[in-house]
Symmetry: C2
Subunit: 349 residues, 2 copies
């Protein structure tokens, strides 16, 4: 393993010059870097891979890994290394459970997220990639792994494979295996890309795949609120109220996502399987009633497998699977306990 | 209007020669025919159209129109005019509520089902097409209109537009308007066809559209039962357990469905709007808990609009929207009351 670059490094774009005098302590300690290692991939054997990470927070504070959906990345929230808003912007900050003054927050770009690795990937590979970054940064133990959606799957794998390094796991909107219906839904999204690829329209295929995915991330309740208008006939074709929204969602996604990255990360959700009895880390499972990808029944099955290590919290939200991006106050309230409360004796690994 | 052909006519294929001595009375009275009329289409103006129908049952018996999903057609069940099994085979027959010895059963091929009419169609057009067939056959009044899925939408339009001809309506798994989430789901299916059409792969597009539709017709519970197996990596790609099933469903559908027919009928579901207060016919609304296309809340909203004319029956079924094709005994039990019970005074139109 080689630590290619842990030095402070400004990203390419969208940054203001830094004025150190204006920065709080935790901002000064934002770091980006890259770890280059050989990783034994579960389905593709050993590969040389680069893992990009970002670490922010007070020096010496306990470390929490935060991981999000397949579209998430190492940049959680605006900091000195990158001023842009991050994907977890509203979950990170002073007075939040994920406060960089209290904990150092570590996140990676998922393996395969740059589209360069065109092989079957697995959540176990992602967990090993996180462990490799911890090695490179000489971080022995995590206070917590907080995973949302895909990140929850990676967190469960990390707990099963590297449990000795983990004090607590928070798995939001993710379970120990893909639900067969959700897997079918994703397989059809991949077919949309394949249909586009037939004739060099793969980005249109990816756009359509993303639009179908949006239906799985949200709920009928939200659509009923937002897209109640009658359909129109435009150029002899029917156009329904949600199509503008879906068009925009598809276009935004295609602009930032390599097709190969999406295909391989989508597949890796379906390959995901963890034996919950192998997880011996205190785990808070957060499920959302109405999540169309991760039914409550699967969260309960996970809980059963976790035995004494598991506890379940259930949210109701019109945002379904995407609740973690929308219900940030409620998620934060759950994290306050799940990340920081003392671990009852007898539950620690 | 011209009645082109009401004579007994054998369909093209898959029939045994008839032996009249072996046929029960109601079989002898199976008739197929075609009505050619000019119909004022709601979104496309007047058009000359052919409407194919099938009528079976005891001469002089009261008439019940039966209409199914967009893939259904005039052939409900095996009879003298067509020995093939029909799409409602298990709902029609002796001891069933839809017994051809007690009622004459009338069904049509939906307008546009042959793919020749490439204009926006509406459920109101379908209702008018049914009325035109009744005119041609000199049938003044229906004992009932039994509609499932798309047929329920057509039935509601028929009740609103031709209520004086109808004694009872049974609307199974259909409401007074398309749900915005279901409409978005269908719009994306149409985009799959459009993606295929980019490069002459429209039948692959239709296959994919059908596969996505299957997910809306069924439920996660059924998929969890049937497709629990782990995914496989085949030729470097992940293949999930449901894909064989989905492949077969897509191929079967493409083999029998003109692309234009599917597109226009799919659109017509999204154009569907009926003001329930305009329905003054005793109506039994049958909803399935877990139907991913027609949420129970929409059935309840329909019921509220129907006021004293409405009653609601709720089924639980792992088959979701497709329950009417699967739970035939339970549907039949509901129909026995809904089609045959005396209408309480004060509820008749």
């Amino acid at each position: 393993m080689s630590l290619v670059d842990t030095a402070y490094r400004l990203p390419d774009a969208a940054h203001e010059p830094l004025d150190p005098a204006s920065l709080a302590l935790e901002e000064l300690l934002a770091t980006r870097g890259r770890v280059r290692i050989e990783l034994a991939l579960r389905h593709a054997g050993p590969r040389r891979v680069d893992i990009d990470y970002e670490l922010q927070g007070a020096a010496g504070a306990p470390v929490v890994v935060v991981a999000g959906g397949i579209s998430a990345h190492r940049h959680l929230a605006s900091n000195a290394a990158c001023r842009e808003a991050g994907w977890a912007e509203h979950l990170v900050g002073p007075a939040r459970a994920l406060d960089p003054q209290r904990v150092r927050l570590l996140a990676i770009d998922f393996l395969g997220a740059d589209g360069a690795l065109d092989v079957p990937l697995d959540t176990a590979d992602q967990a090993d990639a996180v462990a490799a970054v911890l090695d490179a940064l000489a971080i022995d133990k995590l206070q917590a792994f907080v995973g949302y959606s895909y990140g929850a799957l990676v967190g469960l794998q990390f707990a099963a494979r590297h449990g000795a390094r983990l004090q607590r796991l928070v798995a939001v909107s993710g379970a120990h295996r893909a639900h067969p219906y959700a897997a079918a839904w994703r397989a059809l999204q991949r077919r949309a890309v394949a249909l586009g690829q037939l004739q060099c329209a793969e980005r249109q295929g990816l756009s359509l795949a993303r639009q179908f995915a949006m239906l799985s991330y949200r709920t009928p309740e939200e659509f009923a609120e937002r897209f109640d208008a009658a359909p129109e006939v435009v150029n002899g074709r029917v156009r329904v109220a949600a199509e503008d929204y879906l068009d925009a969602a598809g276009a935004r996604y295609v602009a930032r996502t390599p097709v190969t990255a999406w295909l391989r990360l989508s597949e890796s959700i379906d390959l995901h399987r963890v034996d919950p009895t192998q997880v011996r880390v205190p785990t808070t499972v957060v499920a959302v009633e109405g999540d169309r990808l991760v039914p409550l029944a699967d969260a309960v099955a996970l809980l059963e497998g976790l035995g004494a290590y598991g506890r379940l919290r259930v949210l109701r939200s019109p945002y379904g699977h995407d609740a973690f991006l929308k219900e940030t106050d409620r998620i934060d309230a759950l994290l306050t306990t799940a990340v920081h409360a003392p671990i009852p004796s007898g539950e620690s690994a």
